[in-house]
């Protein structure tokens, strides 16, 4: 039985802002299935009372003092931009949020 459908892959691709081709949809659906099957084995592991781990050494309260540091020169900031205008990053029209 398939865990992940072509439609579901398409939905995930939209969430992740990936324009995927039909061929990719088919390929990914099949490949993800195999991987997800393996992942499902985790469900059988008893983790009652276990605390999650995210890092090798548990670190707490890592803060920075509120001291200003130099920002990048604006030329350096804009130099990487695919398109800039008026010292800002230019982007094409954003889909209308207001009806």
């Amino acid at each position: 039985m398939s865990t992940i459908s072509r439609e579901e892959v398409a939905h995930l691709a939209r969430l992740a802002r990936l324009e995927v081709t039909d061929d990719e949809l088919d390929a990914f659906a099949g490949q993800l299935d195999v991987i997800l099957e393996s992942m499902k084995t985790l469900a059988e592991v008893n983790t009652d009372g276990v605390q999650p781990t995210s890092h090798a050494v548990p670190l707490v309260n890592v803060f920075r003092e509120d001291q200003p540091q130099p920002s990048l020169p604006r030329d350096a900031v804009l130099a990487g931009g695919p398109d800039t205008a008026e010292d800002r990053f230019r982007v094409p029209r954003i889909l209308d949020e207001e009806a």
Partner: protein, 510 residues
Amino acid sequence: MSRIIDKTAAELAADIREGRLTSVEVTTAFLDRIAAVDVTIKAFLHVDRDGALATAAEVDAAVAAGQELGPLAGVPVAVKDVVVTKGLPTTAASKILEGWIPPYDATITERIKAAKMPILGKTNMDEFAMGSSTEYSAFGKTLNPWDTGRIPGGSGGGSAAAVAAKMAPLAIGTDTGGSIRQPGAVTGTFGAKPTYGSNSRFGLIAFSSSLDTPGPVARNALDAALLHEVISGYDPRDSTAIDAPVPPVVAAAKAGANGDLSGLKLGVVKEFAEGADAAEPGVIAAYEAGVEQLVKLGAEIVEVSCPSFSYALPTYYLIAPSEASSNLARYDGVRYGLRAGDDGQHSLEEVMSLTREAGFGPEVKRRIILGTYALSAGYVDAFYGKAQLVRTLIKQDFEKAFEQVDAIISPTTPFIAFKFGERTGDPYQMYLADLYTIPTNLYGGPGVSVPVGLSEGMPVGLQVMGPVMGDDITYRVAAALESTQDTLLADTAPEISTDLRFAALNEDGK
């Protein structure tokens, strides 16, 4: 007479410091070697001849002026293209970053520069470090110097191949699931993944934040240890960095070279042995011969049980793609890198999608979709959340084992370098390459891969895993194993043909 490029980093550093060689001579020798053989191997995405020679000249001037210099001053290094280098192209081998020139340096880049090590260039890798063969680079594959029909491992195949082919005495890699150790094993080089947090991730292009660790690639343990100490240490710009002294790995490598491991207990993982059918017999044979050597040096072998290791692979393949799907969201064609489809017809939303479609390769897309799925509403507890719990069990297995033993050993990889294309069709077969390396990443402790022998004429690595912040023990064991080898495996690599017709034939006739 030994060529400059045959010398170890430690020898080169001493030669430069003591005036027997200049850094310019040394750096030039490696640049010339790159010019000669990299047309075949293709380990570098970018070579910075001028920059490297400028640093070398500075070192030579400093030596002439009698200045105090760091332990690797003047010794050139190659840097994996996932590490941000100010003014030098940095792409993570992805089209989406093609042409991007960073306006800042990673912390480890700053440390390399402060150590006055000439940067030869940026090495090839699997795109965004996702892969185990360097076949997923957007800019072409890197070939294994031992057999150009085979993969150099991944994701750090470029760094490993550069060191194996003597194009660099040292290189920087990053290890998220084995990307330093596995390429080390399949190219006959030494690779170390330090304790997570014992060095800085600032300026490392993120793949999986809770796993990524930069580390050294070298031809032997001592060279790696020297570089390890250059790049390691606390960094306030990385909130996950550990504020503690760097473990004394150079001293440990020197101690190990004496070849005495008496009193040391080395663990072998019962569950790895039981699942040994996943590994090739030739790999197991080479590894077991290495274990015998360790016993001869006085080590005691103790079986330890780590039942949760069998869940390491699925745990890893939930955590890493989940974090990656979020880390890679920033590549949207707005502030830097590629932009596609901006033709006046498409909205920004469409341009973002078209940019990401054009800029990311298939493995990156696969993992982004996998991670998006694992984090999506209704699944996050069952997947990412559950994986973090299982991660705790894996960590507990390690901690229990280290109550009984000083270090744990295993083969680094289940198989030797495979042929190009052999595993790209089936991602799961590719993921198996990291079977033995992934548990350490999930735990966060150190692991090194040291060349142990050959199978089918190809190198095999032995992995030494240590407790968190116990990096020194891994170097000591590895250096002891090296002391049993008359010639280092890294020095027996076949000479690379500089005949381009031959290289092309090998590549096509894989």
